[in-house]
């Protein structure tokens, strides 16, 4: 049994309400979460290390950290929206 036959069988399982698009959407959203976690973790690491080097700049660094984290989160949420569209259509 090859991977291709399994995938084709899953694609044909429309009667059971299982569909490849649901799988794709869910996996995509999960990968997006991994990406966001790694990205925002890097931002946090950079911010915390910078604050450790120079505590007086903590406020500026915190503001920049939140701003950049919002950018990365926005990109992750693009992928979540794509996943939702894949499940709903």
């Amino acid at each position: 049994m090859s991977l291709m036959t399994i995938l084709l069988q899953a694609g044909n399982d429309a009667a059971n309400n299982f569909s490849l698009s649901h799988l794709g959407g869910a996996i995509g959203a999960g990968l997006a979460a991994i990406g966001a976690g790694i990205g925002i973790g890097q931002i946090g690491r950079g911010a915390v290390e910078s604050i450790a080097r120079q505590p007086e700049a903590a406020n500026d660094i915190r503001a920049n950290m939140i701003l950049t984290a919002a950018f990365v989160e926005g990109v992750a949420l693009f992928a979540v929206i794509a996943g939702i569209l894949a499940v709903l259509k």
Partner: protein, 376 residues
């Protein structure tokens, strides 16, 4: 001076054309009810969609009465329909709930929230075109938020007009003043330089408008205004118009003939730059706000629905899971309040950054350092 009027003409033409090609941006996904209909069983996807999408009524909760009927506690809103064939009709959404008419009233039928025209037999009439101009809950909530926002800001402004800056701030000024100063010092001045005062009204408007709509959307039972892609699209389009209006010759020169790169790179860069200015930057603004808000609402709804999902499996599991679910929901609520502020700030900040990029003149590197006074 000639360039300014040409720019005005181009921006005006762009705005008019984008309005002419407007067709209603429908944020509702057509729910394939055949796929997900489990008769009588609890369907979480449908409930989530009902919570985050627009509707013709403010629905608070439903309960099964003693006669087995589903009673809904909701505020029906006006349905305003215009059809070129039938004219204008306006009635309350509650008319569709009469049981003997099967969701048909006055020649219109309510199909899962979408209103279609039906003929005398009750079949969908394809020929009649219906424009739905109703006051849906998003519209009503937006107006309520707007009225409250204008009232708060005008009362603060009135106090400043009366007393000037010689009197200590009182009441609502205490809340508004640090926020306005924050937007001016952290968003306006760093990005816009000396021309920040011209743009402060727009930046403050967009910040407070998004913030108050975000916060109102968090009230249980309220509508999800900022999580509606049509709403965020209009905000992004308005920001785009402000950005285009503040461009100058250097900006367009840099887009259509990027300096400092070889010609074959220019060929690749020019479409990227054009797409980035007109499509990608406003598109990112639109999707970032929309996705953040709707994701937050879906997560909150899901956590509460987990109680019912567990309850459908086993009554005891439902009750037992309830405290856990409520605890998670409270935690997420705090995060969502933070996200409400952050997303409003991010939208404003990015708009200011893009306006600043349009305003850039000649690059005179080395001249732009501020003099820090020596403090002893």
């Amino acid at each position: 001076m000639g360039f300014k009027s040409l720019k005005l003409l181009l921006v005006a033409a762009f705005s008019v054309i984008s309005v002419l090609f407007f067709h209603s941006a429908n944020a509702q996904e057509p729910m394939d009810t055949a796929k997900t209909a489990k008769e009588g069983k609890f369907d979480p996807a449908k409930v989530i969609m009902e919570h985050v999408m627009d509707a013709h009524e403010f629905h608070f909760f439903s309960y099964k009465g003693s006669d087995g009927e589903e009673h809904e506690i909701s505020i029906p809103l006006p349905v305003i329909l215009y059809s070129p064939q039938r004219g204008l009709s306006a009635f309350s959404y509650g008319r569709f709930h009469d049981h003997d008419s099967h969701g048909v009233y006055n020649g219109y039928k309510n199909e899962e929230g979408k209103i279609v025209a039906v003929d005398a037999n009750g079949n969908v009439d394809e020929v009649v075109k219906v424009y739905d101009l109703s006051l849906t809950r998003n519209v009503v909530q937006m107006f309520i938020a707007l009225i409250i926002l204008v009232w708060i800001l005008m009362s603060a402004a009135g106090k400043y007009k009366k007393n000037g800056t010689n009197v200590a701030p009182t009441g609502v000024q205490n809340v508004i003043e640090p926020v306005v100063t924050f937007i001016r010092d952290e968003v306006g001045r760093p990005n816009l330089g000396v021309k920040y005062e011209k743009y402060m009204p727009y930046l403050l408007t967009v910040f407070f408008f998004i913030l108050i709509n975000n916060l109102f959307g968090l009230i249980p039972g309220s509508a999800n205004v900022t999580g509606n892609i049509a709403f965020t699209m209009i905000l992004a389009v308005v920001s785009l118009l402000v950005i285009l209006f503040s461009t100058n010759r250097h900006f367009w020169g840099h887009i259509f003939w990027p300096p400092g790169v070889p010609v074959f790179v220019k060929v690749i860069l020019i479409p990227i730059e054009v797409a980035s200015t007109f499509l990608i930057k406003p598109g990112a603004l639109m999707i970032r706000l929309f996705a953040n808000m709707i994701a937050g609402h879906i997560v909150i709804t899901c956590f509460i629905l987990l109680i019912f999902i567990f309850g459908a499996m086993n009554q005891v599991a439902g009750w037992g899971f309830a405290p856990v679910s409520v605890a998670f929901t409270i935690f997420i609520y705090f995060i969502e309040i933070l996200v409400a502020f952050i997303q409003a700030f991010i939208f404003t900040n990015l708009t200011a950054v893009f306006i600043g990029q349009s305003l850039e003149g000649e690059h005179h590197d080395g001249h732009d350092h501020t003099e820090d006074p020596v403090i002893i």
